[in-house]
Amino acid sequence: MAHAVEKHPVTGIPANPEKATLEGKNKYVAFWFFLGGETVLFASLFGTYVGLLNSGAPEELRSYNIFEMELVFIMTMLLLTSSLTSVLAMMNMKANNPGRMKLWLIVTLLLGAGFLGAEIYEFIHYYHIGHTFTSSAFGSAFYTLVGFHGAHVTFGLLWITTLLIRNWNRPIDVYNAPKFYVSSLYWHFIDVVWVFIFSIVYLLGMVN
């Protein structure tokens, strides 16, 4: 849009740079709608999981015998904290502090990578004790749900990394702010899903 957008006198960029332009606003709204769809996507996966909980698995491979609380707790803390750091990054973006925004995004990435590493470790561990994708309907449903989440994390990491590199030497403006903002929404959504995963899959699964 050719119209100049009003800049905030203090920060030097518009107050909400992520939706200051029509393009930005479109992106912002569209991404929320996409998350609405993702909600249903994960609901379908959760539904399948609860429908098949422990189904077809021998006693020693049932949820309450394989899940380990320590690892899940660490993963939860990593992801929750990364959600906060991503908020901090966005606050710095709105305040037009590109340096600190980048810093917090890097911290977010590191936390996310840590989470992913732990998840991979966890899967390898299960694989060795015989709880695999094809060992039972329970196994299939478990890996599909948690794996879809893991794939989202991976995609989020790649996405934010690309944005960081691409915009490393650029100022924050109404062209790249929506991109950062939307990727951070995505990151929060990953955390939302994880909250349900650790509550329903892991904690509930551990209650015998």
């Binding site: 332009t21 769809g37 098949l52 698995a57 309907a137 991109k179």
Partner: protein
């Protein structure tokens, strides 16, 4: 982004490259429309083969296996590759114009959505050439669909997955377009009904496709990688697929019918020269149908054994949908009431729709009576029901829309004379085909049977049904002739071809310039063009001065992104037979897609500007021709 970049050069191509790279919603609309018509012909040929096999008892025209492939491909093609794309075609071509916009919210994603649909459709139909079309019905119930030898289902799972992503993108795109891109004064309650129904149908897409996506992933993982969601031997449960499919499947039928309702709601007021009766209730009825549509899917599963409580609840919920739909029917009737009805072909289809769809809706309510459905279910009664609503509703709507908007989209009109022939052949054929099927079902004929013994009282009715189908076949050929004739003819139409146009799209010159509106219109009420005409104005008021117009660039990326997924999909299918080839294709295809995505986010694309001088020149030329 005036402040970030200087004005950029426009990136343009010619000929076929223009079609592959276009991001213009009007051209994408045409692409959707013609791909849809192509698949309609394919699905129609499959329908004719089905009917030919059933013309007499114990016919051996095709084998049971081939027959199952035919019905599966017929149902899948018609729903996903013919009806939906043709509707998307009209949405693309018309909705931005109806709301006074220069384009959709995401032109790039619009193109991506089309190519995903296209490659998904090609993938599905490639199965014929690999000797194995999917054969488990369009519903693909597990474990029939997970039998290892049913290799066609691989094409089903991957083809629908790819085209499903396209639908999801189209859905979000239309939602945002309609919310954010409206011209000044175009309040929500001034939007034409086609825009409204597009909006609601798009919302349904956003929530209905994810369960299908998950279901298809599970089907694919089970077939290709040995997962066990539906395998009782490993603790799987076959009912899960049915739920996921129908949680998607029922809203899907409203995704089809709501835009068709929208088309009729445009045509009926136009040719009755009367404002739509009960506009506000029409809007709320649309939303209510969409909302209730998510709470009734179990009516497809009454016989699965979910128990009397679930069956009763969902039976009553299903019946409730008759109320908002009835509101619509009566509103249409009362729009006609007191009008000045002109019967051209578009109007004939709209008027014929009312009783045809009514019959389909009534049998729908009869089906919703759970204990009665124990008799109807999976019998020809159901086949009769859904063809009455789909053909008598959606296909009539598509034909009506085609005659109505053809002049706008192509600058030429379809022959009314051929149109009458086409209409009557189709109308007669349609009732002749599907009316007898109600009785076949009640007489005990199951659906999806490739043949039947004689002496069961089904022979005459089947014969009638087949004859009817061929009437529809001839009618379709007439339609093709009409289309070709229109393209060959030199007569160009004027703007507001029908003379009675009420909405903004009819204010535009034909052919419509790529930026649609030289000056964004100022909307003064519902049916704003009509209001201006009644006030004696030749043109609608404008909301801005002529100025530079920002346009998006063409792009090859959507094509390659979709092609990559297509190749990866083929790889996933082939890795069953040949691991090396399969996985290399998967790798190559996904790489192509991800590199394309990466390029998209790496390369800044700020579009370009059409200079004010050119817009002014265009305007002048048009006005000199005395057209606007």
């Amino acid at each position: 982004m005036a402040q970030t970049t200087a004005m950029q050069q426009s990136r343009k191509y010619n000929g076929i490259m223009d079609w592959i790279t276009t991001v213009d919603h009007k051209k994408i609309g045409i692409l959707y429309l013609f791909s849809g018509i192509f698949f309609l012909l394919l699905g129609g040929i499959e329908a004719l083969l089905i009917r030919w096999q059933l013309v007499k008892p114990m016919n051996d025209f095709v084998s049971g296996e081939t027959f199952n492939q035919l019905i599966t491909m017929h149902g899948t093609t018609m729903i996903f590759l013919a009806a939906m794309p043709m509707l998307f075609g009209f949405m693309n071509a018309v909705v931005p114009l109806q709301i006074g916009a220069r384009d959709v919210a995401f032109p790039f994603i619009n193109s991506l959505g089309f190519w995903l649909f296209f490659f998904g459709g090609v993938m599905l139909n490639l199965s014929w050439f690999f000797g194995a079309a999917p054969n488990a019905g369009w519903t693909a119930y597990a474990p029939l669909s997970t039998q290892p030898e049913a290799t066609g289902v691989d094409f089903y799972a991957l083809g629908l997955q790819i085209s499903g992503f396209g639908s999801l993108m189209a859905g979000i795109n239309f939602l945002v377009t309609i919310l954010n891109m409206r011209a000044p004064g175009m309040k929500l309650m001034r939007m034409p009904l086609f825009t409204w129904t597009t909006f609601v149908a798009s919302a349904l897409i956003v929530f209905a496709f994810p369960p299908l996506t998950v279901g298809l992933f599970m089907l694919m993982f089970e077939r290709l990688f040995g997962a066990a969601y539906f395998d009782p031997a490993l603790g799987g449960n076959v009912v899960i697929w049915e739920h996921l499919f129908w949680i998607f499947g029922h809203p899907e039928v409203y995704i089809l019918i709501l835009p068709a309702f929208g088309i009729f709601s445009e045509i009926i007021p136009t040719f009755a020269r009367k404002r739509l009766f009960g506009y506000t209730t029409m809007v709320f009825a649309t939303m209510l149908i969409g909302f209730l549509g998510f709470m009734v899917w179990v009516h497809h599963m009454f016989t699965v054994g979910l128990g009397p409580v679930a069956n009763s609840i969902f039976a009553v919920a299903t019946m409730a949908i008759a109320v908002p739909t009835g509101v619509k029917i009566f509103n249409w009737l009362f729009t006609l009431w007191g009008g000045q009805i002109k019967f051209n072909v578009a109007m004939l289809y709209s008027v014929a729709f009312i009783p045809s769809f009514l019959v389909g809706g009534m049998t729908g309510v009869m089906l919703s009576v759970a204990p009665a459905d124990y008799q109807y279910h999976d019998s020809y009664f159901v086949v009769a029901h859904f063809h009455y609503v789909i053909v008598g509703g959606v296909v009539y709507g598509l034909f009506a829309g085609l005659y109505y908007w053809f002049p706008l989209m192509f600058g030429k009109a379809l022959s009314e004379k051929l149109g009458y022939w086409q209409f009557w052949l189709f109308f007669i054929g349609f009732h002749l085909t599907f009316f007898p099927q109600h009785f076949l079902g009640l007489f005990g004929m199951p659906r999806r049977v490739f043949t039947y013994l004689d002496g069961q009282g089904w022979d005459t009715l089947n014969m009638l049904s087949t004859i009817g189908a061929f009437f529809m076949g001839v009618s379709t050929i007439v339609l093709l002739v009409a289309v070709v004739k229109a393209f060959l003819s030199k007569d160009r139409v004027k703007p507001d071809h029908w003379g009675d146009g009420r909405t903004l799209e009819w204010t535009l010159p034909v052919p419509t310039p790529e930026y649609n509106f030289a000056q964004t219109p100022l909307v003064k009420g519902l049916d704003t063009f009509w209001l201006e005409k009644m006030a004696g104005n030749k043109r609608v008021s404008v909301a801005e001065e002529v100025s530079d117009i920002h346009m998006p660039n063409n792009s090859l990326i959507p094509f390659f992104m979709s092609l990559g997924l297509f190749i990866a999909g083929l790889g996933a299918i082939f890795q069953m037979d040949n691991t090396v080839v399969g996985w290399s294709l998967i790798g190559f295809g996904l790489a192509m897609t991800f590199v394309s995505m990466f390029l998209r986010s790496w390369i800044d694309d700020h579009g370009y500007y059409i200079p004010k001088s050119q817009v002014e020149a265009d305007l002048k030329a048009i006005r000199e021709k005395g057209e606007q």
